[in-house]
Symmetry: C2
Subunit: 440 residues, 2 copies
């Protein structure tokens, strides 16, 4: 099975755990059997492997997510990066083109496209394999998954089938209706559109060449910014007469708001938190190194990260977006391919961060125009390169770097560094990257 996972954009709705640089699929909130936690993307990736060890998984995502994906899934994960945001049709076309032109998948093989963030069990991925087999059989050009609805939701699109068979021809798609219309659809056997499609690679490639002028993957990637924004639903589904839908009745939860996300939590609290016995239906996710004490909280979600603290009634939490948009959103925590950083202190002319590098990893070779930096190595061992000079470092060493000098740090073991930045105009944009020094 070839799966393209669509890893969507930045999220405000799960603030302070999601933000401009961290999407909800990267929040480690789901408990594994070994007691540690995994994110949605880690969970989905693991579940696919469990159902089909030979599946090829390609993640279609924006450039800004590559670091977090490599951090969470390992650096050999297959990624089809979108050079710009152009909606789902160009994104899926680019990923299918990547599969065929870069990975050498046969044009006649089936491909399944699925969002990265459903909260599901393994039966869902078994259903994806069935959907892939349907696409291979070729009775229709497009096979979609339809979720058996549990209530007349206004949040989802609907697929209306011609029959109540397990696999049926699609009569039509309907965008998010009001509750009354949704109830009528459901009475007619309609299903929720989960955004899951299967098709032969050639089908989407042909559509792509029809609508966009390109030769192969490299060419499409190069001119990606110039292609028209258009959704897969609009460009393909609505115009295709031969579509079939396969029913799925297993668990399928949309983790889009704190209210729904906390339903998937196996315990009231993740992180350092105490809820006294007068709390009820309350969940805490604490990513800070501070204890949270909750007393007498009812129907609440409390989430804390270096970005901020949310204390909200669960129902109210779905109205969070405008409040988060008004906030001054300095990035206080980020996962990078080489590790992570957390902002510890912000002053007018200095910024102090904790940098953690994974063993064997290194940051870019770079310089800053407007700030000096000091590295205080607090644990581990590695090497620094400053203006070409390599030096072994370990806990207790201090390296000072003037503005303009080129520098990087490499971790031999896990390396933790307190980095003090000093200057009048400290900005993430003040960064010049260079080719790695010889020998690295």
């Amino acid at each position: 099975m070839h799966i393209i996972l669509l890893s969507g954009g930045s999220g405000q709705r799960l603030w302070p755990l999601s933000n401009n640089v961290r999407s909800k699929q990267f929040i480690k909130i789901f408990k594994k059997e070994d007691g540690t936690y995994e994110s949605m993307v880690q969970r989905v990736y693991r579940q696919i492997r469990a159902v089909d060890a030979d599946a090829t998984v390609t993640i279609a995502t924006s450039k800004s997510q590559i670091s977090a994906l490599c951090n969470q899934l390992g650096s050999d994960v297959a990624i089809s990066p979108e050079p710009a945001r152009r909606d789902t049709f160009p994104a899926i076309s680019l990923a299918v083109s990547y599969l065929v032109d870069v990975q050498g998948v046969d044009r006649n093989e089936p491909v399944v496209v699925c969002p990265v963030d459903p909260y599901v069990n393994e039966d869902y991925f078994e259903a994806l394999r069935n959907l892939s087999d349907l696409a291979a059989a070729g009775a229709a050009n497009l096979s979609v998954m339809g979720i058996e609805p549990t209530y007349p939701s206004e949040k989802y699109g609907y697929v209306i089938p011609r029959s109540k068979d397990q696999v049926a021809e699609v009569e039509t798609f309907r965008e998010k209706p009001d509750a009354k219309t949704a109830a009528e659809y459901i009475a007619r056997g309609a299903l929720w559109n989960a955004g899951v499609f299967a098709f032969k690679a050639s089908y989407v490639l042909d559509k792509a060449h029809e609508l966009m002028n390109f030769t192969d993957y490299d060419d499409l990637a190069a001119k990606y910014e110039t292609v028209k924004k258009i959704s897969f639903d609009y460009a393909v589904c609505e115009k295709e007469p031969k579509i079939q839908v396969m029913r799925f009745a297993g668990q399928w939860k949309d983790m889009g708001t704190w209210n729904t996300l906390t339903e998937a939590m196996e315990e009231p609290a993740i992180g350092n938190a105490v809820l006294n016995d007068t709390c009820s239906n309350t969940n805490v996710v604490n990513e800070l190194n501070l204890p949270i004490l909750c007393m007498g909280c009812r129907d609440m979600v409390i989430a804390a990260s270096p970005e901020g603290i949310l204390v909200s009634d669960k129902n109210q939490s779905s109205y969070i977006k405008p409040y988060v948009e008004q906030m001054d959103q300095q990035v206080m925590f980020a996962e990078k391919s080489w590790g992570s950083f957390t902002v510890l202190d912000v002053e007018n002319e200095s910024l102090t961060i904790l940098v953690t590098l994974k063993p064997g990893h290194h940051m870019n070779y770079h310089s800053h125009e407007h700030r000096d930096e000091v590295w205080n190595i607090i644990s581990g061992s590695g090497r620094t390169i400053v203006d070409g000079m390599e030096q072994k470092v370990h806990a207790g060493d201090v390296i000072t770097m003037q503005a303009g000098c080129r520098h990087m740090i490499l971790a031999d073991t896990e390396l933790r560094v307190i980095e003090v930045q000093l200057g009048r105009d400290i900005s993430v944009h003040d960064k010049k990257k260079y080719a790695l020094p010889a020998g690295i």
Copy 2:
């Protein structure tokens, strides 16, 4: 007027803003006319000065509070430090002895003793002056203040007067009763015991010499740890036949719990916080550099400091004590006479703190046996002395100190320093102090 302010012990009830090293009277929560905030002790000190510019104010407190008192009231505040905790009779005796033996107050002058943490207006301090005048007039040996009760509280002791006159003889004192008994007391004209006493200095000194064997202030301070623990109520009030009570009907609030403290807040939030319009009767005190967003919170208090985060129903908040006692209470923030520090990062073998020194101030000259330290100066200018070597420092300078070396830092302007501590056994107890180097 001579006032002795009793500045009581550490507080758990207002966690995370009070803790083992910061008592509730030091939390800056009360808005001044200029828009800044002051603590209870600052408010009381300012109010006394407003009512009686010539009042001498002596603060009876434990050694652990001296730094915070100097930080908040200035270093020329008169403090009578208790060498150990020996309850209120030895504490008041020591402070009166300090007034007479150290400050040269005449033995016949009246002295008023009052707790440092009532939330009151200036009329309360005018009443204290009247109480002082009553003590000077000498119709009774002891004059106490009685608060007109507003409800049959089980939290306070009661003073039962012989008449309903403004000033009356005291018939008896009663410890905290149940609500029914309290109502009976109130029907008989009883008043709340606010812990405010006035007397001639000689009266308490004579009692002190009766009960404790000492010559003068220095001698009592030297043998303080050996004296018996006993309360002023038990040692003096209960045995004294000639006591009068003066009624006080002005505002008097006990700020002992979050529930009562938030009643004194003039606005819903202090610090970086947003409450949406579905919040009601909710207060936020945020001492962190992170935004707090509250949605749909009803009757809640949310308090955040480097020690932790409390999210509590207001009524529930009075049951906080056992939960706080169970917490691992590393001190994350402290006010010192020279400034303050905040813990930024805690690792197995390192601790990173932000140190702020006030202009003209300096820390002790000291060394550590088990840790190296690095000072990253991030703003301001000053001088460091390391093993006797003085050096001018300013933003951008880095000073490294090996375990064992003697060091201190002096601020010429406000100085901010990221201090990185490195070692296996980092502890506040690993500190040896030395006499200041010559010339400091």
